[in-house]
Structures are given as structure tokens and as C-alpha cells.
């Protein structure tokens, strides 16, 4: 039939038929919700780590007009409020899904009003109370068969993978056992000893990666600074079938004998060491069938004497096959890790163009403030990454790697070691002199300065910067797939002096833990540890005998100010086509403690930015992220600001008031023609709250 011979109805029927036929040809997973449709269906917006949405209703011209559309206080989701709310919600088809509260409940909210639609929580008792990753976690993941079977999938505090019906919040009976999988099953220590399902150490607070019908889940452990054994639980990554929960594959991040990389654990030390979990977000190229795993440190964070060798895949970016979990390539970011340079951020998938050549790349933001960029098919660095000699350890039993990798491009996007005296505070000559004196108590030097056994007659520690909590941390960075630019916030004043000591008798089988032999031994617990809903409530204990008061100021603070020169943190735009920093601005605004400091009265101090690590969202024209600190200024009452920066220039183009600092990364979505931005705030006296902003309704 000629087109000209069709009547209108025929044409419509034909078009509908053609449309249905096209839909039938498109794989179901390709019809999934997308940021292109206004959804935010994964923790990072998509499964490529981009944190990008093309929405543009909220822009530079109207950002200042944003109003609170709705707010959801999370206090009742557990026996006590949470002050460390870190979730980023999903928004799919008009519904918000996210975790919240000290019991890590999952909630579904009406995306237009914030009305609670359902809530799910699991009472895990002591299993959650002793879990290595507590509180509400980072959020949930979403799966749909495209035919109405829609699921919300998350990991509980006690390390169970649960699939919920997205419409009702009820566990899916056909997934695992009654909707859940015990992720501790299969976790081992030593040469393969199953950990105890109740007390064994394993957990996770990142969100599962869901691609097509596969759910991929990492693993994490307690803080690694004062470990009770080097033979901790071994990290792994596992894939499960999204429909049944059946285990599809396991990738061991510590290779077993005969597996690739086994020789990097000298003296058979693979058998007596653990950790190397994957605690941050994973990403995947669904077309290439490649998954990218950012692996953390082996046991322990600062002493590797019990694991001579490079220790693959500790602190490595590992690419595995989506179907089999087999290693395709890897790059070790830090050899023989002893600085806690965990790979902290979701790898970002980027289709870039370098010198006229199209490259499918993966870019890894880092605590080191380097953006490591690779061809994501082959693992070849896009720009050379050089092995350079680094300082060597003098700690007995430790054997540091002779060289470490240094990217040649892009340049470091934040300070990643303390240069003396250039990086010391210089508001006044007096402050500079005091900062020099304070720093002189520590060993200083270039990146990869090895830990020392600190003592008051020598060095108090090795002064590193960015390793434990600086650079780009767990919130990760963002990426604009249209302009090929990465936007990264980085904390560049996070000094971390590393000192080792021998543990008290009977505490550990490891030779050194963090601390100083001349001070009382303290166990370092992880963030939020012991704060889970079922943490034991002990009876009051009598006060111990009084001891002397502590020093009035910290050793790395002078007159209430950090010894490090501002900006304390920066936001950078990094072109992946050119390997260059396009712009860089201070993050946030000058803290009250600096602006109101009597020693600085009358001085014109440029914006110092604020310390802290936060996440961002990238839209068509803006980069949006909130302050990490409260401030009180002439332009706003006590509180923090959610700020918008022009993507092209870094210029701040708007700011809206938040009652407390941003504690979880923002996201954006559109429902019924209205764009919203949601951000988690908490801290200090302010308990966790999700706040949604939108533009005022037009009459």
C-alpha cells in the first residue's frame, strides 16, 4: 500500500503497530526509566557514575527562587534520630525510593508531595548492632521487568540483600529465601573458613549495581586502623539474578592460588590477610558487558608487614566481565597500600575524543585528587601514568613498594601533599610561624610518605594529606556526557598524620596499629559504628577516676585555624578530551571561624571555601552542591546553602538556604512538568532530613 493511499485511520493503526513492533524489538532493559525522561533511577543517576540529568527548568536565572516543596524528617525510622543521613534518593515514575533512619528503613514517598507511601524495615538485632557499616546508608537500587514487576533492592545493615515490591514495600517471595539473601554466606577468612553468620564481620552501605537482570554487590569491613587481626574477612564482589536471587558469579578481590595476581601476596600471605572490599559504588558498561570495581585497602590500613608484595587487587580498579565476573584488566592505583587510599568513588564512564580519536574511557576520581583515566576496553591509560620512586618506610617489618603510579594528565585537581612552607597558612606572619612550628613536629614530604612509629622526642607522625578523608571521597564526582567534562569537589586540607604503635598485649596479631606508644591505646571505630538501631543500651556506669585535662587546641590547629592554607576545598571542571582543568573555584564560603577571627579583623580575606567532602549533581547548565558547614552571614541566617555553579565558568549563580549542612549527595528529577532537587541534610543538632526544592508555582 502506497502511503498516499492510506486514510488517516489506517495511518494511525500502522503507526501504532510499527511502534509496538519497535518496542517488541527493543530489549526490556532498554525501556527502563532514565534521567532523559526525568527519572533518577540509580544512585548516580545512571549506571555510568555520571550524576547527570539533562533537566533545565531550574537554571541560573531562577535558582535563587527555589522553595521547599516538601521535607521528610527521618527521626521516627529507628529508636533514635540519625545525624548522618547520607542517602541519595531514586525517583522512578513519580515515586521516591531511599533508605533512612538508624534502622536503615526503606521508604517510598510521593515525589510531588513527600507523602509516605510505604516503609519497610528489618529488625536484625545484634547482627546489625555490630555491623561494620551502620546507619541509613546511601540508598537503594531499582529493577523492573518492564511489565509491572518492579523491585527496590537494597542491603540491610546486617548485610542481607533484600528485594521489595516497589508498589507495596513487601519482600518478593521468589527472590532468595522469602525476598532476602544472606550475604554473609560465602564470606570467608583465611584459606576459606566461612564467617559466623551472626558475628562475622561484613557489611555494606553503598547501593547494589543493577544492570539488565543482574544485581552486583560489594562488601566492606570495619575501620582498618586498629585491627584485631590481619586475617580479617576477605573482600569479594558477587552478582545475583535480579528475578530469583540466584548467585551468578563471585570475584575474589584477593586472588586464590593459581589465580591472576596470586604472586603479589608474597610468602603465601593471601591466606592470612583480608579486607580489599568494594564499599563504594560500582559502574558498568552494559553494551560492552564490562563492570568496573573500585577496590579498597587490604588489612590493615597503615601497616602491611604481614602481607609483603603489591597485594592485588588492593586499591586497584578492576574491570570484570558482566556475565562471568572474570577479570578483563586491572590497574593498581597504589602498590602495597599502607595509606588508606581506598578507591572511594564510582568510576565514571565517558565516551571522549582525544586528539581526534574517539575513546571509550573510564575516569576514576580519587582521594589522591588525581583523575586516573583509562581506555575502558583495554585498561590502557589514556595519558601516560608514570611509575616514580617514592619514600621508603623505616618501620620494622614493613616493605614499601619502590615506586607508585603518577598520572601525567590531567594534573592533580587538589592539593595532595603538604608542601612546607608554601601550603601553610599565611594570613599573618605570626600564624605562618606558628603553623611551621606545629608542622615541624611531624615528618613531612611528598606524596606516599610512609607511616612512622611516632614518639614525642622525634616525629609525632608522618603528615599525609588526602589519604584517609581528603580528595574526592565516597560522594564521588559527576560528568557531563555532552561536553566530556568531569566536575569534582575535593577536600584539600584534610591533614592526616600517620603514627604506628605496638598494640597492647593480647589485642591483635598484627605488629603495629595506629597510635603512639607514649599515649593510651584507643580503638578506632568506623563512621557511625555502634549507632545502629539495635545497638545495646547499657546501664550507666560509675565515673572513673579523674585525669588531667587535655590540651586546649589540636596539634594541627593554630589559634583555632587549620595550619593549611585555604582554599580548604575546591570544585574543579576537568576536560576529559584535553586532560586539563578547565576551571577551579573554592567550594562553599568562608567559615565563620575564619571570617570572624580577631587576628584577621580588617583584612580582606578572599573566599577560603570550606573543608569537607560532598557530592554534586550536574544538570544541563549547572553544577549543584551544598555547604558542609553552617555559617551565619549578612546574607543569610545560621544555616548552610545549596549552591549552583555555572557549568561553563564555575561562577556561583545562585544559592538556596538549608537548615543544616548537606550530608548526602543531591539528585534531581521532573514530575508533571516540575523539576525538583532533593538533598539530605543533617549534622550537629540537626537530625536527618530529606528536603525537596522546586520553583514557585505559577498562578
Amino acid at each position: 500500500m502506497h502511503q498516499s493511499e492510506m486514510n488517516g485511520q489506517d495511518a494511525l493503526r500502522c503507526a501504532v503497530f510499527a511502534g509496538l513492533a519497535f518496542l517488541a524489538m527493543v530489549p526490556v532493559w532498554a525501556q527502563q526509566p532514565s534521567t532523559k525522561n526525568g527519572d533518577w533511577p540509580a544512585y548516580t543517576g545512571d549506571i555510568h557514575g555520571s550524576r547527570y540529568s539533562p533537566l533545565d527548568q531550574i537554571n541560573a536565572s531562577n535558582f535563587n527562587q527555589l522553595e521547599v516543596a516538601w521535607r521528610f524528617k527521618t527521626d521516627a525510622l529507628g529508636p533514635r534520630p540519625e545525624y548522618k543521613l547520607e542517602g541519595t534518593p531514586l525517583m522512578v515514575k513519580g515515586v521516591i525510593y531511599v533508605t533512612a533512619g538508624t534502622r536503615r528503613s526503606v521508604i517510598a514517598l510521593d515525589a510531588k508531595t513527600g507523602e509516605l507511601m510505604w516503609v519497610y524495615s528489618l529488625r536484625e538485632g545484634n547482627r546489625a548492632a555490630i555491623a561494620p557499616r551502620q546507619l541509613s546508608g546511601r540508598g537503594v537500587s531499582y529493577w523492573s521487568d518492564g511489565k509491572g514487576d518492579d523491585r527496590v533492592i537494597f542491603v540491610t545493615t546486617g548485610y542481607r540483600l533484600i528485594a521489595l515490591n516497589a508498589h507495596t514495600g513487601q519482600p518478593i517471595p521468589g527472590f532468595g529465601k522469602n525476598g532476602m539473601i544472606d550475604l554473609k554466606e560465602g564470606m570467608v577468612t583465611g584459606t576459606g573458613q566461612q564467617i559466623d553468620l551472626e558475628t562475622g564481620e561484613a557489611g555494606l552501605h553503598s547501593t547494589p549495581l543493577i544492570v539488565k537482570d543482574t544485581v552486583i554487590v560489594g562488601s566492606s569491613f570495619k575501620e582498618g586502623m586498629t585491627v584485631v587481626t590481619h586475617n580479617n574477612t576477605k573482600g569479594l564482589v558477587r552478582a545475583f539474578d535480579a528475578r530469583s536471587g540466584k548467585l551468578l558469579w563471585t570475584f575474589n578481590t584477593i586472588p586464590r592460588p593459581g589465580e591472576f595476581g596470586g604472586e603479589t601476596w608474597e610468602n603465601g600471605s593471601w591466606a592470612t590477610n583480608g579486607n580489599t572490599g568494594v564499599w563504594t559504588q560500582l559502574t558498568v558498561d552494559e553494551e560492552l558487558g564490562l563492570v568496573y570495581l573500585p577496590v579498597e585497602s587490604p588489612t590493615s590500613d597503615f601497616y602491611g608487614g604481614d602481607r609483603p608484595g603489591d597485594n592485588l587487587f588492593g586499591e586497584s580498579l578492576v574491570c570484570v566481565d558482566l556475565k562471568t565476573g572474570k577479570r578483563k584488566w586491572h590497574f593498581q592505583i597504589v602498590h602495597h597500600p599502607i595509606w588508606d587510599y581506598d578507591l572511594s568513588s564510582a568510576p565514571i564512564l565517558a565516551d571522549i575524543n582525544v586528539g581526534g580519536k574517539a575513546i571509550k574511557a573510564v575516569a576514576l576520581p580519587s582521594k589522591e585528587a588525581f583523575l586516573y583515566v583509562f581506555n575502558r576496553v583495554t585498561g590502557e591509560p589514556v595519558w601516560p601514568i608514570e611509575e616514580r620512586p617514592v619514600p621508603q618506610s623505616d618501620v620494622p617489618g614493613e616493605k614499601t613498594a619502590p615506586t607508585q603510579p603518577f598520572p601525567t594528565k590531567p594534573p592533580a585537581y587538589a592539593r595532595n601533599y603538604l608542601k612546607i612552607p608554601d601550603d601553610l597558612i599565611d594570613f599573618t606572619p605570626e600564624l605562618r610561624a606558628q603553623a611551621k612550628d606545629a608542622a615541624a613536629r611531624y615528618k613531612t614530604g611528598p606524596m606516599f610518605l610512609p607511616p612512622v612509629v611516632g614518639n614525642p622526642d622525634g616525629y609525632l607522625g608522618a603528615l599525609n594529606l588526602g589519604n584517609a578523608s581528603g580528595g574526592t571521597n565516597w560522594p564521588g564526582a559527576g560528568y557531563d556526557p555532552e561536553t566530556h567534562i568531569v566536575y569534582a569537589q575535593a577536600h584539600q586540607s584534610a591533614l592526616f598524620p600517620i603514627s604506628l604503635r605496638t598494640p597492647p598485649s593480647g589485642f591483635s596479631d598484627i605488629r603495629y596499629v595506629m597510635g603512639r606508644n607514649d599515649t593510651e591505646f584507643r580503638v578506632s571505630e568506623g563512621p557511625g559504628f555502634g549507632s545502629a538501631a539495635d545497638a545495646p543500651q547499657r546501664k550507666p556506669t560509675p565515673a572513673p577516676a579523674a585525669t588531667a585535662a587535655q590540651p586546649a587546641t589540636g596539634p594541627l590547629i593554630v589559634q583555632g585555624l587549620s595550619i593549611v592554607k585555604p582554599p580548604y576545598a575546591v570544585i574543579s571542571a576537568i576536560s576529559l578530551d584535553r586532560g586539563e582543568i578547565q576551571w577551579q573555584v573554592p567550594y562553599g564560603e568562608t567559615p565563620d571561624a575564619v571570617r570572624n577571627h580577631p587576628a584577621l579583623k580588617g583584612r580582606d580575606i578572599p573566599n577560603t571555601g570550606q573543608p569537607g567532602s560532598v557530592g554534586l549533581v550536574v544538570t544541563k547548565t549547572l553544577v549543584i552542591l551544598g555547604d558542609s558547614q553552617n555559617t551565619t552571614t549578612p546574607s543569610h541566617p545560621r544555616g548552610a546553602m545549596l549552591r549552583a555553579y555555572d557549568k561553563a565558568t564555575g561562577k556561583e549563580v545562585g544559592a538556596v538556604y538549608m537548615p543544616a549542612p548537606q550530608s548526602g549527595s543531591p539528585m534531581t528529577y521532573m514530575v508533571d512538568g516540575k523539576q525538583y532537587i532533593v538533598v539530605a541534610v543533617s549534622g550537629g543538632a540537626y537530625s536527618g532530613e530529606y528536603i525537596a526544592y522546586s520553583l514557585p508555582s505559577q498562578n
Binding site: 533514635r80 565515673a543 588531667a548 590540651p551 583555632g560
Partner: protein
């Protein structure tokens, strides 16, 4: 008119209630010493022996600390301590012990000592403002 007078009386009352600040000597040295011992056992592992914080907990001195608490009351800080600390056993300490720890934190931050112990009742502590800046302009 009656309502206006009543409002004025309430406003004056509220003002009087919050007229004290941490600069007015609101804890005793003995209380701070008791608090030091409690702090060492219950708080230092996360917040650091010098209160400078760590990877797992914020500092209790310096700019970041005051960014959270400047402008609020001791009652706000006391309630945060009482209901969520120590993180591994919230509610472990008595109200009196919580007040001792708070006195110690004030002493480390060099707020002046006084002759009367810091109260352990939240509503009383809510009448004491936490101000980083001394009335004469001195900054913590």
C-alpha cells in the same frame, strides 16, 4: 492591649531565660576534671584525645565544631550527647556524667570556669547560649 502586654512579658521572660552564655562561667573545674576522665574512656577513641576529631567523628573544638553549635544552646549540645553518645552505647552515661563531659568540652575550648556546676537538666541548659565569640569580640 492585654495580649500585647502579655507578649511583652513573655518576650522579657524568654530574654531573661537565655541571657546567660558559655562566657559567664557555667561549670566548675572539678566537674571538668570528672568529664576529662569520662571523655578519655568514652569519647576519645572517635573524637581524638585532643578533641580534633577523626575519620569517624567530627572535632569538638575549632571552626568545624563551632560551625555546628555556635548560636545554639548548651541544651541542644547536651541533648545530642545524651541521646546519641557514646556512639557504641547511646544512653550509657547518666545525665550528670553527660554534663561533666560537656563541662570538659567547654574547658578544652577555654570557656571560663565558674563556681556553680553545669546543670544536668536539658531545660536549664537550654537557657545558656553557646557562643564562639566573646562579648568583647574574642574568637574561639
Amino acid at each position: 492591649m492585654k495580649n500585647a502586654i502579655a507578649l511583652l512579658i513573655v518576650a522579657a521572660f524568654v530574654s531573661a531565660q537565655t541571657s546567660r552564655s558559655v562566657w559567664d562561667g557555667v561549670y566548675t573545674p572539678g566537674q571538668a576534671r570528672q568529664g576529662a576522665a569520662l571523655y578519655a574512656n568514652e569519647c576519645a577513641s572517635c573524637h581524638g584525645t585532643a578533641l580534633t576529631g577523626g575519620e569517624s567523628a567530627p572535632p569538638l573544638t575549632g571552626g568545624e565544631f563551632f560551625s555546628n553549635w555556635d548560636g545554639l544552646t548548651l541544651g541542644d549540645l547536651f541533648e545530642r550527647i545524651r541521646t546519641t553518645m557514646p556512639a557504641d552505647h547511646p544512653g550509657k552515661l547518666t545525665r550528670e556524667q553527660d554534663a561533666d563531659v560537656l563541662a570538659f568540652v567547654l574547658s578544652v575550648n577555654r570557656f571560663p570556669e565558674g563556681k556553680i556546676e553545669l546543670d544536668h537538666r536539658t531545660e536549664v541548659l537550654k537557657q545558656i547560649r553557646l557562643e564562639a565569640t566573646k562579648p568583647d569580640g574574642t574568637q574561639k
